[in-house]
């Protein structure tokens, strides 16, 4: 039986964690994710959730406590954002290397400085290489569904890796939208209790997170890397099962009107809906444009990106992060996906919506027309274009 409620994105991820019957939630509050621990503590106080909430003194401790709890066999969830995620950085590698299926909701927010609390993907992009899976929600329904599925995927014996579920600051974390959710019985059926292959147990002593010398370190890394590389079929299988059970379809990457498109705009997160609306409007004007939404950024969907975008004249990447001195991080991934293809579209990079600047229909029109002009000229120069920026407010370097 499906129920529907109007809730904020943070409430959707907290609800998913509750319905997943998490055992332990170590948390340190940070804007825009604070409502997650608030809701969890409310569930515990109301007797709706039988879990241990550990209030820690920093995010570094939150993820450390999550590691301990997960290694002891608990199902663990937490939430953070921006500086909080950055403070976790060194510990994130340990969680994934220990193959602990911790699930963490991220209210995707800009990193300081200047200090800013709004939507931006720089925080999770900076954790790209930590060996965690990364999922990005387009709306609150996806935030709920991906959070719930993340437990199943993370805990699958063929995967056993932690997962981040990104939801854009405020645009999702604080926005009220209708969210469908299944009954507790249905969730229990989809997500049985976590059965860890190994746990910390005083009766059966075991070492977790041991020292690895040059004789074994690379094998650990290779094994971990292969787990991520081999996870796509498991993710697809669980997405498919979710669709059968609950009727909502998920793909690691989703195309929209891509078949005959000259230009395909690739995006992640909450701008994906606005992008689809922009595509519909541009199609009415005869512009052959399509959209691609990346839901699973790690493992990266190389093959699917090539299949969806290979026929276009140009791929325009619209990304909410920048790697200064390079381009946006997604540019590198998508260029990499095409590098060994016999033929490939031009690939053009656009920086949008940093620090919560609104991403509008007009922005996507500008991206499409710029990219189409580049396709006509047969060259992408400059490679990286900043959209909706006021040059008068941005003096040249050194000033």
């Amino acid at each position: 039986m499906e129920m529907k409620e109007i809730i904020r994105g943070n409430m959707a991820t907290a609800l998913a964690a509750k319905m997943a019957r998490v055992d332990v939630v170590p948390a340190f509050p940070i804007t825009p994710s604070t409502l997650f621990p608030e809701k969890i503590s409310e569930y515990i106080a109301n007797g709706e959730l039988d879990a241990e909430m550990i209030l820690v003194e920093s995010e570094h401790s939150a993820i450390s406590a999550a590691i301990g709890a997960s290694a002891a066999g608990a199902r663990v969830a937490t939430a953070t954002a921006s500086q909080g995620l950055a403070l976790m950085h060194e510990v994130l590698f340990i969680a994934s290397a220990m193959r602990l299926p911790i699930v963490m909701a991220i209210g995707n927010r800009a990193l300081s400085g200047p200090i800013n609390i709004w939507a931006d993907h720089s925080d999770t992009m900076a954790e790209r290489d930590t060996g965690w899976m990364q999922f990005y929600a387009e709306n609150n329904q996806e935030a709920f569904d991906l959070m719930l599925m993340a437990f199943r995927i993370a805990e699958d014996r063929r995967v056993l890796l932690p997962a981040m579920v990104g939801l854009d600051a405020f645009t999702l974390t604080h926005t009220m939208e209708p969210v469908d959710y299944p009954s507790q019985e249905e969730v229990d059926d989809f997500l049985p209790p976590y059965q860890p292959p190994y746990t910390l147990d005083v009766n059966r002593p075991m070492t977790f997170g041991s020292f690895a010398t040059p004789e074994s370190y690379m094998e650990f890394k290779w094994s971990h890397t292969r787990a991520l590389e081999e996870s796509p079929p498991v993710i697809d299988e669980i997405f498919e099962e979710y669709k059968k059970r609950f009727g909502r379809e998920y793909k690691r990457v989703t195309g929209y009107m891509t078949e005959d498109a000259d230009v395909i705009i690739v995006a992640m997160g909450s701008v994906s809906g606005t992008l689809r609306e922009a595509v519909r409007q541009m199609r009415k004007d005869g512009i052959r444009v399509g959209a691609v939404k990346i839901t699973t950024f790690r493992p990266f969907p190389f093959k699917e990106i090539v299949e969806l975008c290979g026929g276009a004249k140009i791929v325009a990447i619209a990304e909410r992060a920048i790697s200064p001195g390079f381009a946006g991080p997604l540019f590198g991934e998508i260029a990499g996906a095409f590098i060994n293809q016999p033929s490939r579209p031009l690939i053009s990079d656009f920086i949008i919506g940093l620090g919560g600047r609104d991403v509008t229909l007009k922005d996507f029109r500008e991206i499409a027309s710029t990219a189409l002009k580049e396709a006509e000229e047969g060259r992408v120069e400059p490679l990286v274009k900043w959209i909706n920026i006021n040059p008068e407010e941005a003096p040249p370097g050194g000033e």
Binding site: I6, T31, P32, I117, W118, N139, A169, F170, T171, H174, T175, M176, E177, P178, S270, V271, G273, T274, R276, E277, R280, Q281, K284, D285, G356, R357, D358, V359, T360, L361, K362, D363, N388, N390
Partner: protein
């Protein structure tokens, strides 16, 4: 324009909104609420969303992100549509504007971006004729008096959101009163019946119809 400073990042978007209205193809109905932090503008937007949702509509409600401070001018928004709402942008050209605090009329241009001839509902003791908002259609209601009489908030800091949503139902016709009352009952943390009564009274008391 003084209003600009309250729009922060959207000062770019304000110009964008003007261009977009020409290629408007959506059935979406957009409402902007102006209030001061603490008056319940965000909850007003949520109540409207829940009320419309009860009538089978797709909805979205959000605050002007991150600027809520007690007493400071704040905005909140509701989108209502017959089909799923893909748009995640801020609202630049609302169909309807609700003003929860009369003192805002001297501080900001509440009609900014409002669709030509669009309605503005103001919580004030004044009558609609006392406002000159160009082609905009003005409606007024003394929501403060209704809130105070029903013991909502304090006389110096009345919570007027539930009352003014009653008036909104009457003026807009977008949601019916019963759905609004059900939503008010659902979203009021305390004094549920007082809030419902305020919404009912304000439904009847609105001027300019």
């Amino acid at each position: 324009m003084r209003a600009g400073k309250f729009y922060n990042v959207s000062s770019y978007g304000a110009a964008v909104g003007a261009g977009e209205s020409e290629q408007e193809v959506m059935t979406v109905y957009e409402v902007r609420f102006h209030g001061r932090g603490g008056q319940g503008a965000v909850t007003a937007a949520n109540i409207l969303a829940v009320a419309a949702f009860k009538e089978g509509k797709e909805v979205q409600a959000f605050p002007m992100f991150g600027v809520e401070r007690r007493g400071a001018p704040v905005m909140a928004f509701t989108r209502i549509d017959d089909k799923p709402i893909d748009l995640k942008t801020l609202i630049y050209s609302p169909d309807f504007v609700v003003v929860l605090d009369p003192t805002l009329m001297d501080v900001i241009d509440v009609t900014e971006g409002l669709k030509e001839g669009g309605p503005v509902l103001i919580n004030t003791t004044k009558s609609p004729e006392e406002f000159d908002l160009g082609s905009c259609k003005v409606y007024t209601v003394d929501a403060t008096k209704i809130a105070v009489e029903n013991g909502l908030g304090t006389p110096t800091n009345p919570i007027v959101n539930t009352a003014i949503i009653g008036s909104f139902a009457k003026v807009s016709g977008i949601v019916n009163l019963d759905s609004v009352l059900a939503a008010v009952r659902e979203l009021s943390p305390v004094k549920k019946e007082e809030n419902v009564k305020a919404a009912e009274e304000a439904y009847k008391a609105v001027k300019g119809m």
